[in-house]
């Protein structure tokens, strides 16, 4: 942290109204199993999982229904006992509403016990296990980052071990307005979280764990301090309330003073960041052998009748979760999955909950500003708010002119899409949408380039093959011709010899 920040507070970020209470204070409600669950096969970063069940097959609760494929992927388990009725496309929980492959399970209500086959075996003493074995078991349980990005946790654990990470940072910041699922989890499940943190310390080989919790969650800080009292290697650190404090880079900077270099991983600064929800999921997986099949979801927003936190199964429809949470007061003006600042706008509520869903926000018309944007007045408010020190107005100017390379040259890759710039913009310019558009276009160009290289190689291979075939054919023809010529010569020679012999014989007879 720089001297300026120590004296005058933070120079980055924004401070939106948090709207976390009363939802954060309401006790957790457990959602009963809906009739049908739609479990998408692509819930994590990386390659989608490969289904391991067939339509019509009966599955037990916690049974593995899809295996990871490729280096970056995660296993998926059945959130409830039932019958697989279909493996097909359903609308994805995504702004585009495009289809995603999912396993549909008709829940039959038979609740099998925990630790069903497919998950890791339960273990009483995780600290006796080899760190690599913990990684394997976490992968078996299909644990992914619960903070939103849903990166497969096992990979993060094993790569941290290899990189020799010193500090494990646990993200209890929950800086997103409206969300309180991490807050609620820390208040209710602090011992399990601390246990998960200690297992992760063992798995990564880090020396200490720093848990960053924003000061607007005093109950969570108290609960976590109580749970961590007996463990010297886990330190609870209250941090200032500032958005985006829960971002990896900002949290690492605030807690350790170490800056993660642009374009590098946290491991390069000797840290690794995990969410409190992930710590809980790791503890559940290692201690009890429970795969990740349900999670805490915050239902909030002006249109929600009874805001609060719901323990919901993965694969439940957003519409079902909203209905269980008390229904809607009015037709929501906007439905958001995730947080207010970084969440995704959903096209409709018939999309499933996934492992990375931290919240469902049903915003009322009063909470949504739908006015058209005004021209940029170059006030540079966005540049002051940007936690990454970028110039959002300049990047947007280039993107508006379709100059994506120019935007990339101005740090588009360093943008964490936190939305601070759009939040402070007096002209209401959708800056983050510009950046997402440019990223998509740059990725598409890169894909097209790779495709072009690949198809060019294929075309060269084909022409080489055709040339080789033609050459072989010509050689074979030449060979045959030579053989024919040789045979003809032989025949001729034989005929001549025969003629000579018969001549000789005749001469003999004559003689």
């Amino acid at each position: 942290m720089g001297l300026m920040e120590k004296c005058f507070g933070f120079s980055w970020g924004v401070h939106p109204a948090d709207h976390k209470r009363p939802a954060a204070d309401a006790p957790v409600r457990v959602m009963p199993m809906p009739e049908r669950l739609f479990v998408p096969l692509a819930q994590h970063l990386g390659a989608p999982a490969l289904p391991a069940v067939l339509a019509g097959q009966k599955v037990k609760k916690g049974e593995r229904i899809a295996n990871p494929q490729g280096a970056v992927s995660a296993a998926i388990h059945a959130p409830a006992a039932g019958v697989v009725t279909a493996i097909g496309e359903i609308p994805a929980p995504h702004p585009s509403g495009l289809p995603v492959l999912a396993v549909t399970i008709e829940v039959d209500g038979e609740e099998a016990c925990d630790g069903a086959d497919g998950g890791p075996p339960p273990c009483d003493d995780p600290f006796a296990l080899d760190p690599a074995e913990i990684g394997r078991r976490v992968a078996q349980a299909g644990v992914v980052g619960m903070g939103g990005a849903a990166f497969p946790s096992a990979l993060k654990l094993s790569s941290s071990k290899k990189a020799g990470v010193e500090t494990l940072i646990i993200n209890g910041g929950e800086c997103e307005p409206y969300l309180s699922c991490d807050d609620r989890l820390m208040r209710d499940e602090a011992p399990a979280i601390v246990d998960g943190i200690r297992i992760m310390l063992h798995a990564t080989g880090a020396r200490e764990a720093l848990v960053g919790i924003e000061r607007n969650k005093p109950e969570a800080i108290a609960a976590m301090r109580e749970a961590a009292r007996a463990h010297g290697d886990v330190t609870i650190r209250p941090i200032p309330v500032r958005y985006p404090m829960g971002s990896e880079k900002q949290l690492a900077l605030t807690l350790t003073g170490r800056e993660i270099p642009a374009g590098r991983l946290p491991a390069d600064a000797g840290v690794v960041v995990h969410n409190v929800g992930t710590a809980k999921a790791v503890s559940e997986a290692i201690r009890h052998g429970r795969p990740l099949i349900s999670r805490l979801v915050t239902v909030n927003g002006g249109a929600a009748r009874a805001p609060g936190n719901i323990l919901a199964p993965v694969g439940a429809l957003v519409a079902d979760v909203l209905a269980f949470a008390g229904g809607l007061k009015e037709e929501p003006a906007r439905l958001i999955m995730g947080g207010l600042m970084m969440g995704m706008s959903l096209p409709h509520a018939r999309v499933p909950l996934v492992k990375g869903t931290s919240g469902i926000l049903a915003l009322s018309a009063a909470e949504v500003d739908d006015r058209a944007p005004d021209p940029c007045i170059r006030c540079a408010s966005c540049a002051r708010a940007c936690p990454m020190g970028l110039l959002p107005l300049e990047m947007a100017r280039h993107i508006a002119a379709d100059d994506f390379a120019g935007a990339a040259g101005r740090g588009l890759k360093d943008c964490i899409a936190c939305g601070c710039c759009a939040y402070v913009c007096p002209s209401r310019i959708p800056l983050v949408q510009y950046f997402a558009h440019a990223r998509g276009r740059l990725a598409a160009e890169e894909r097209a380039r790779l495709r072009l290289d690949a198809t060019r190689k294929m075309a060269q291979a084909k022409s080489a093959r055709l040339a080789a075939e033609a050459r072989e054919k010509a050689e074979a023809a030449a060979r045959r011709k030579a053989e024919r010529a040789a045979a003809a010569a032989k025949a001729k020679a034989a005929a001549e010899a025969e003629a000579a012999a018969s001549e000789e014989a005749r001469a003999l007879v004559d003689a």
Partner: protein, 175 residues
């Protein structure tokens, strides 16, 4: 006599050496632009541009005889890349681009004649005699070389479908 022969021989040898060295060190390379443009082109030699293969098109484009936008399978992306390399102004809006395309075999029309297999520059069509053929999406460049040989007109080009990982956030409306 001897002096004349000797002097001319020495002169010839010396000048020849100078020419030889100059030829080596002052050589003008073949137009690098041609090679670079050819590298940007798809390289499938489909012939839709009217030039003999991608190499022919590269020569014409580099010489300014053809527009950088003359490659239909390359579309807007390739045209803009070539224009940028050659420093030619090209209006992106003027390029007729339906986006990337893929060949699709209508299974009810395909008679399994294997003619399209031979025409595909990237071996993107798989099939066997009297079996329905199919197109490997990842290998198809949408060059349309297979449309003509098909006797039943079973092949047509369709836009590449948008999938979830390839979706691009639309550009916000300008203020």
């Amino acid at each position: 006599m001897l002096a004349a022969v000797l002097s001319l021989t020495v002169l010839g040898a010396a000048l020849g050496l100078v020419l030889g060295v100059a030829g080596k060190f002052l050589a003008v390379e073949a137009n690098v632009a041609v090679a670079e443009v050819e590298k940007l082109l798809p390289g499938t030699n489909c012939g839709q541009c009217g030039f003999p293969g991608c190499a022919g098109a590269a020569v014409a484009i580099a010489a300014g005889e053809a527009s950088p936008a003359c490659c239909p399978p390359g579309g807007k992306a390739v045209a803009m890349a070539i224009a940028e390399r050659l420093g030619v102004a090209l209006d992106a809006a003027s390029i007729d681009d339906d986006g990337p395309q893929l060949a699709l075999v209508a299974e009810d029309l395909c008679i399994g004649c294997c003619r399209c297999l031979k025409s595909c520059p990237t071996d993107a069509i798989v099939g066997a005699p009297r079996q329905i053929h199919n197109v490997l999406r990842d290998a198809c460049t949408g060059c349309a070389a297979c449309l003509e040989p098909c006797p039943t007109e079973a092949i047509r080009l369709v836009p590449m479908p948008v999938t979830l990982p390839h979706w691009v956030m639309p550009r916000p409306l300008a203020a």
